[in-house]
Assembly symmetry: C2
Homo-oligomer: 71 residues x 2
């Protein structure tokens, strides 16, 4: 498991916890829905710019997106 997978797991978990669709999160974070979909599949190494935006919408600190729960 690399950082792409950790990010993907956390994004899906936190997005569901806030009851947001991929469309909702993508719109709020100003990223494309297709890009977000790929990130949630662990396909891309996102940049910190994207991570900052996603964390802002999900109301968590950016580092929390890179840390597995319980780690």
């Amino acid at each position: 498991m690399d950082l792409r997978d950790v990010l993907a797991i956390n994004l899906r978990r936190l997005r569901h916890a806030k009851e947001l669709s991929q469309d909702d999160l993508a719109y709020e974070a100003e990223v494309s829905r297709s890009y977000l979909s790929q990130i949630e599949k662990g396909k891309y190494y996102a940049s910190l710019k994207i991570i900052e935006k996603l964390a802002g919408v999900l109301e968590v600190e950016a580092w929390e997106l890179l840390k597995l729960p319980g780690e």
Copy 2:
């Protein structure tokens, strides 16, 4: 302060703690020295790929590079 600044502060702190030069860290992490220099100045939003490599050399978890000490 945005994520670029947090990353810059942590990189400089951890690199100095391991008594590595920018050349040393760049070489070990397989990034260019000039790119590392810019990241340590908070100029760039690095990608997770780079952060993963830098964390590996500095022997910390990737999320620790995005978290301010004491936060």
